[in-house]
Amino acid sequence: MDLDLILNSFPKLFLASITTLKLLSASMIIGLFIGLFFAILRIKNTNVLGKIAYLYSYIFRGTPLLVQIFIIYYGFGQVEFIRESLLWNILKEPYWCAVIAFALNTGAYTSEILRSAFQTIRPGFIEAGKSLGISNKIIFYKIQIPIAIRQSLPAYGNEIILMLKGTSLASTVTLMDLTGVAKYIISTTFKPIEVFIIAGSIYLFFTFLIHYTIKSLEKKYSF
C-alpha cells in the first residue's frame, strides 16, 4: 500500500467526482421526464403509442448501457449525414453523448417503475375522488401522480444508485469523471489497487448519501 499515493490522489479524485455528479443529475432529471412521459403513454394508451412506449423500454432495458453509449458516441460519429446535421453540434461533445445515453437508459427503467406504481394504486382512491365529484384530470394530477411517486421511491432510489455506478462508463468516451481520472492516475503510477480503492470509497460515500436521502423521503411521505 502506497499511503502517499492515496493522500495525493484523493483530492484529484474528489474533484473528478463533480463531473460524475453533474452527469448523474443531468441524466436523472432528463430521464425522469422521459420516464414519466412514457409511463403515462403506457397507462393511457393501449394502441400504437402504448406499443411504442413498450418497445422503447424493451430495447433500452434489454441492451447493455455500454453498448448504448458506444452506439451513440462512436456509432453516430461514423454516419455522414449525422455529422453534417445540426445534431452533430451536440453529438460532437462526449459529455452530451454520455448524458443522452444515460438519460435514455434510466428513462426506460423509470417508465417501468412509474407504470407499475400507477397500476398498484388502489381503485378506492380514485373512486373516492370520483364520488366527491372531482374531475378525472384533477384526480390524475392530484391523487394518482403523488401516490405513484411515493410508491416508486424505493425502486427509484435503487435506480439512482445504479445510474451513479453507470456513470463510470463515461470514461470510455474520454470523459474525465471519477473512473476516468482514476484510470489516468493509474496510467502514470501503475498502481491500480490504491487508486481504485479510493475511487470505490467515493462511489460508496455517494451511494450512502442517496440511500439516506431516499430513506428519509420515504419516511416523510409514508402513509
Partner: protein, 287 residues
Amino acid sequence: MNIFKKFGLGLLISLFLTISANADKIRIGTEGAYPPWNSKDASGKLIGFEVELAWALCRYIGQQCEIVEQDWDGMIPALQMRKFDAIMAGMSITDERKKVITFSQGYADEVASLAVMKGSDLEGMDTPEGINLSLGGGNVNKALKTITGALAGKTVCTQTGTIHQNFLESGDVGKVNVRTYKTQDDVNLDLASGRCDVALAAAVAFTDYADKSGKPVVLVGPTFSGGAFGNGVGVGLRQAAQMGETSTMGKRDADLLRKFNKAIDQARKDGVISRLAIKHFGFDASM
C-alpha cells in the same frame, strides 16, 4: 467419503501438473490492438510484428511460450501481478516506466507523428522532416514552437498511458487540450469522425489505419523521437528486486532478462528482426 478423497487427490494432482507444466513456460503479454505492432485478425488470432517476433525469440530461448492478451491500460500492473512474464506491446523504453519495470535491449524503433484528416488547416506545417528531442538545439526548439502555435485551441487525441500522452502533457508544446482514449482504434475513429482535430501516435499506426480503412488520414509536422518518446521499443520485464533478488522468483525474472537480451542479439544477427519489420512496417524499423 472415499469418492471425495479420490476426487480431491485427483484435483491436487491435476493442479500440480498444471503448475509444473506452466513453470517453464514464458507468458508474453500483448495488447492486440496496435497494428502493425500487434493486433488481431478477423478470427481473433493475435498477429503482427511483435507476435511473430515473440515466437521467434522463444525459439532462440528454447522455451515454450504463450501469448496473452491484455488491455493497454493494465499492461504494467498485470506484469507486476505475474499474470504474464514479459510485455511485447510496442512499449517504448522510458525513464518513467523504468522506475517500476525493467526492459531488455530495444528491438525496434518507432517514430511518432501527428495526423489529421485531409483538408485540415494543419496540413503543410513548416517543420523539418524529423526532430530528435534528446538532441535539442535551435532547429528542434523552432519546430516545437511552430507545433505549439498550430496545436493551440485544437483538440489533440491520443491513447492513454502512452509516450504520446506524456509528450503532449510535458509542456514542450504548450498547454494542449488533450483527449485520451483506451485504444488506438478509438483514437482513429474519433479522428475520422472529426471530434479530434489532430491525433498523435506511432506514425505507422496512422498509415496502417489509412491503408486499411481508406480514410484520408495524413501525417503532418515532423516525426518525433528521443526525449519523452523514449529509446526504442523493448521487452518489458519485472525488476528482479520486486520479489527480492535472491528469491526463486527474483532469480527467474533476472534470468528472463538475460535470455531475452541474448535472443534479441541472435535474432538481430540472423536478420530476423529486420525481415519481420520490413514485412509489417514496410521499412526496416529494427534496432
